[in-house]
Symmetry: C2
Subunit: 316 residues, 2 copies
């Protein structure tokens, strides 16, 4: 730590400032507004909590620790930060519960025909449905990416009496997962997955992870959900699998490209449901992210290892 | 059992007939079509699997066992059947998983703003949402009616890290439920329930179970779901609680009256989502109902106690 530590706060919030003052009374805070008026202060920033762009990061030559405000760091200049030995931490974990809620909400909207029910309600029509209902119980749930989010998804899947299998780097087992696969035997994983929930981060290893071969491997009538990153799925391969009828549906919180342009074919395909990248949003988000940052700040000031550090090799 | 047992089958299905023949080769089957042509055969029917109306039941003087095709028997002439010592059985239990799926689908459609997302998709608009999101985790889930369905609801709620409390006749505890209430201390139950899932059967004791006092007892901003029977909720009291803002939302698979007339105010209230009484529908329904009936048929022929018998005192 420098004699005078300067912290950049992307979100200026009186309550957060108060909590920072309790942890580190000596710290100097630079807000987004102050940085706009005094761009030269970039060079003093030792700690950043969210919100610096690539150019600002390049010019923040004193930066030692970057606390990301989200879980995904694929937008950061990772190789530059690693080369400069800047520690990068995320708020990984605070999305687990709400992303599981979002994904099962999207899935059940489809399987219980809730969009159609809503249209009937809008026309004041009482019409029992059922012809396109699919039961979750007994289905094999392929959890693509088993970290905190994937584990919570598997746990909910088990409560619905689904059979969760998983795929993760390294392939270490997990108590909520019946069988764990790796990228090496991914086609076996996809061949068993009647419903895939993709929560992969975007790295060199996961870009285009689901391509033509992976879609081909799926059981006919499979459902694919994505709340990881859009580019982990090859969009042309996805469109092909939807058009051929291989897929029953694609439920996407993330897309590639993003935002999805108004003329993109995904918008109007009959078996596609899109939510605009907000699966991770929940009212407690800032409070939970701040709690992680404040914990890390305490550790940083004591020169102890931080939590949720981005792994240089894995890239997430 | 009579010398010649006659069975009425509401749903005529070659596979079901085959299975019945395996269990009871000697049994004579009367289909709905045959009954139409020969109404006098009503008097021969000893066993009915679904589909007789009140008038037909009155005239089926040889009837000894009525296997209902659904879980709810509030449409049957119960007192007459009990007086005639006709056994009544249901397919209770086969709805548990799909009703839990349906209720959480309705709930998550609301809490994850999925109806709004769908409207944005219809306009090809990429608009992240979040302002009205509610997290399930940490919320107290009031399970109103803890049988097979309520237990499954509680189990899923726990996986979402909700806190399930319950209310049931008799008040016996349940491993998935933290605290169990009865109708005597129902106001304490409602006072704690941020989200109520009502799966009560309709009996003399449950008609209008949720009235003005119960809605008043709820925490402000509570959400009420109903997949039991519409008349367990007093509709004017529900409308009042919606209009006053006491309730955040009402998500209804059943209503009173039902079907809901096109001019009913519930249709267009902003915080109401209606599905037309199909929470219990699922593709495996007939196969699972038939399995219960066939099990019971085996027991009946051996003069052993049947499963899922309607309790004379409770009325369900």
């Amino acid at each position: 730590m420098n004699a005078q530590t300067t912290l950049f706060l992307s979100r200026d919030d009186a309550e957060l400032r108060q909590k920072i003052a309790e942890v580190a009374p000596q710290i100097e805070i630079v807000s987004r507004a102050q940085l706009k008026d005094h761009p030269e202060r970039l060079e003093q920033i030792e700690i950043a909590y969210g919100g610096l762009n690539r150019d600002q990061i390049s010019r923040a030559t004193a930066l030692k620790w970057f606390q990301n405000g989200g879980a995904g760091v694929n937008g950061l200049p990772l190789s530059e930060l690693f080369a400069r030995e800047v520690q990068i931490t995320t708020v990984s974990g605070i999305h687990a519960r709400c992303i599981a809620e979002h994904l099962f909400g999207m899935l059940l909207s489809l399987t219980r025909e809730l969009h159609t029910a809503r249209e009937h309600q809008n026309r004041r029509e009482w019409k029992p449905l059922g012809g396109n209902i699919l039961s979750l119980y007994g289905k094999t749930l392929g959890v693509l990416g088993v970290g905190a989010i994937g584990a919570q998804i598997a746990r909910v899947g088990r409560a619905f009496e689904m059979k969760p299998i998983g795929l993760r780097r390294g392939g270490a087992g997990h108590p909520e997962i019946e069988t764990m696969y790796t990228s090496e035997n991914r086609l076996e994983f996809f061949a068993r997955s009647q419903i895939v929930m993709n929560v992969l981060p975007l790295t060199d290893a996961t870009r285009g992870f689901m391509g033509e071969a992976e879609f081909d491997a799926l059981p006919d009538g499979a459902i694919i959900l994505n709340a990881g990153r859009g580019a982990t799925i090859d969009t042309p391969a996805l469109l092909g699998a939807l058009e051929s009828g291989k897929l029953r549906a694609a439920l996407l919180d993330v897309t590639d490209p993003e935002p999805l342009p108004a003329d993109h074919p995904l918008w109007e395909m009959p078996n596609v449901f899109i939510t605009a990248h907000y699966a991770g949003a929940h009212p407690e988000y800032n409070a939970e992210a701040d709690a992680i940052f404040l914990d890390n700040l305490r550790l940083y000031l004591k020169d102890e290892p931080l939590h949720h550090v981005v792994d240089k090799t894995a890239g997430y």
